[in-house]
Amino acid sequence: MVDQIRHMCVGINQILEQIHGFSRRCLFRVISMGPLPIHLAKKQDLEDGSGHKAGFSALMSMLQYCYELGIKYVTVYAFSIDNFRRKPEEVRSLMDLMLEKIKSLLDKESIVHEYGIHVYFIGNLALLSDQVRAAAEEVMQATAENSRVGLLVCVAYNSTDEIVQAVKKSCVTKLDRDMETIQLVDIEENMQMSVAPDPDILIRSSGETRLSNFLLWQTGSSQLFSPDALWPEIGLRHLVWAILNFQKSHSYFEKKKKKQM
């Protein structure tokens, strides 16, 4: 009797999951009738302990929705250079969590293999511990051949640091020439984020409306979206809402761009 009830529950659960998946795909088909962002960037605010783990689950779900919807690049701001100034215990526990999660990306069942994700770790990786850096490099190497979609993880990252590094590289390459020959494209080529086009939408959770030194160069034209929900609570409806807002202003923005061309 107990076994029968258990089977029934498993069956109902499977049916509910299928219905949920089916309605999500229908919803995505409807949304896809309008223009879709190619690149979505996310900044999540860090919380304590179990909040970080819940945040990671929320991230995995969000990635799944993005790739199902056909978004080609997703960038996430995992850890800022500013965050190193937090309490040492918190920084250490974050590094441990990051190491665990980076290694899990190499699992056969991970989302990386399911969606053919090319993973990039963007930032001043020299600031990370040897273990975390080695794990990140291993994942980048293992996914280098993937080309369906991209996941850019900003870790030990600051946009101003990224710009300074690009400026330094541009100076070095033009040192023996006239400085007037330095162009925007020289700086852009030397940006670590040049592996992906500029984001179409930037989502920042927890209702804060600041860039917090994230993708300053790249988000000049991005639509900014700041839902009040904290990151672990961010779900499908926030993504859908962000995309619908993007579609609403996209046609006006494109018209404006054409008038100026």
Partner: protein, 280 residues
Amino acid sequence: MPCLFVSWRLRVPLSITNIRRFIKTAASQCNDKEESGTTGEKEKGGRMPKHVAIILDGNRRWAEKRGLGPSQGQEAGARTVMENVKDYFSMGINTVSLFAFSTENWGRPGDEVKYIMDMFEKIVKSEMPNLRRYGVKVSVIGKRTNIPEPLLHLIGEAEEATKNNKEKQLIVALDYSGKFDILQACKSLAEMAKNGLINVEDIDENLMDKELMTSCSEFPNPDLLIRTSGEQRISNFYLWQSAYTELYFPSVLWPDFGGAEYFEALDWYQKRQRRFGLRV
């Protein structure tokens, strides 16, 4: 009485909401204490911004709604600036940046661009005596290569005449782009490295800050950036400088952005908790 004075001064209707806004804003200014400690620590809620940047968006849509031409929208936008600019410095705000004309705006129809340039000339001529009287230092930032000669001349005169003012600074971004600003800073630093004044390895965020066009202000990075008309983008305005700026996107179109709306933005700013990457 103070409310009546403010209402007259800021041309803000005397309503219960505005009285409440005034009291709240003035009270938090009185209670404001300096936070001790290094840069990057939590800022107390309730402080006034030192630098407010504004993207004046919505002139054309304002005109379209009224069945008017784009030039009339620009004129209405200019009137809003002239009527309100000195009041932007109330409550101890030191620097106000106005994104008047972006590099991308050169792509607009030729007659609209000419109208805008002529309008800038008129504004500089008519407002200069007022700005001098109010002790406002005027700085114009951006590329100057495409600005018409008469306007360039007037800008030069305005900057020269107000260069010794310290308490208030008006930065007008004309033919400005955030990426161009970073590029010109990069070229300056490259030139310094080529001439042996610095090593390339020494280039850091502080050196970049000094070479950006906003180094003309004691407070180069805006605390608050307002973009009217509901568009939620920075649009290549202050990119580097907006790293930790609070971004405020009211839906009102620029010609309708008056004293009351400005108060509301300041009130919103005071409620923000600024962490600079640290824990609260």
